[in-house]
């Protein structure tokens, strides 16, 4: 019972947050709504006993990806009026597509054939069940090959990100640490014996 309540709470909040992502005017508010949406999905995953994935969702998406999103949104003054210009022009097309999709979805769902083939229930695990452990064992035995491909994708992501964003700027000055450390007294200080000056 309590699980159902929690589920409906988070599912409702998720839908609300997701709607806000696309309706609120301020892009930063939209990004924060997305953060909320991620939180709610994490809670729902938790209800499905996917403990590890739920927390990783927060760690990676909320803690890392959304930070990048916010960086980008905050630092590119997005001019909203320009973005809105096309809105009214494309509205008729948009509405007709939306209506078409809604009708086709309605037809599919009401056709009576749309079943998933039974009621599924989330697995119940014992209290000492460790989702992380099970995942680790699966990942490093059966899913070794996809795991290594994921490594290659991450490497490619590094290469792509650097080759697309890094520009050599000749006008900047960087302190050369090696040189600073390698400085020796002999090359820089000269002791000069001087006679005291007299007026």
């Amino acid at each position: 019972m309590i699980e159902q309540t929690v589920f409906y709470f988070f599912a409702g909040l998720l839908l609300l947050a997701a709607t806000m992502v696309i309706t609120v005017k301020n892009p930063v508010h939209a990004a924060l709504s997305l953060v909320l949406a991620f939180f709610c999905s994490a809670a729902i995953w938790l209800l499905l006993q996917a403990e590890f994935l739920a927390i990783v969702l927060i760690l990676v998406y909320v803690g890392a990806v959304m930070v990048l999103f916010l960086f980008v949104i905050m630092m590119l003054d997005i001019n909203l009026t320009v973005l809105r210009e096309g809105f009214s022009r494309f509205l008729p097309v948009g509405i007709s597509v939306a209506v078409l999709m809604a009708v086709s979805m309605g037809l599919v769902i009401t056709s009576g054939r749309f079943t998933t083939g039974g009621n599924y229930e989330a697995l119940k695990h014992a209290a000492d069940y460790s989702n992380t452990r099970e995942l680790g064992i699966a990942l490093f035995t059966d899913y070794l090959y996809p795991f290594e491909i994921a490594g290659a994708i991450l490497l490619l992501a590094i290469v792509a990100a650097i080759s697309l964003t890094l520009r050599k700027r000749p006008d900047t000055k960087t302190p050369k640490v090696e040189k600073q450390v390698a400085v020796h007294r002999a090359g820089h200080v000269r002791l000069v014996r001087m006679e005291a000056e007299k007026e």
């Binding site: 990048l68 680790g136 990942l139 070794l144 991450l154 650097i162 900047t172």
Partner: protein
């Protein structure tokens, strides 16, 4: 398993609630006497020149992107660390290869100057 998460849920709510309560307390108990000088953004006594939100160095994005990549890598490490005693040498070497691939990425970053802060 789920029963362990109920306290966490409540804790998060209380943590956020505490912030709200503090703010409300300050709002109710503190004075509220706005004036245009006081409410203008601080700029060492000058009038604010322009909107403070400006375009920024792409380097910050790069740091954020690299952070995502390494964060993901760490996320892969967690399940591995938990089962390292059970998966045997294959699992161990699998992670070493993964780490090796990522280390090459790190060397590349370093050499390309992506970690340089000017």
């Amino acid at each position: 398993m789920l029963e362990h998460y109920i306290p966490i849920l409540i804790f998060i709510v209380i943590g956020l609630g505490l912030g709200c309560v503090l703010f409300l307390l300050g709002y109710v108990l503190g004075p509220n006497r706005p004036d245009s000088e006081k409410n203008s953004p601080y700029e060492c006594g000058f009038e604010a020149f322009e909107d403070a939100r400006m375009k920024f160095d792409v380097r910050y994005y790069l740091i954020a992107i690299l952070f995502i990549i390494f964060d993901l890598e760490i996320a892969f490490f967690f399940p591995w660390a938990v089962v390292i005693r059970e998966i045997g040498m294959t699992g161990f070497w699998a992670m070493m290869i993964f780490l090796g691939v990522l280390t090459i990425g790190f060397v590349y970053e370093w050499r390309k100057g992506a970690l340089e802060w000017e």
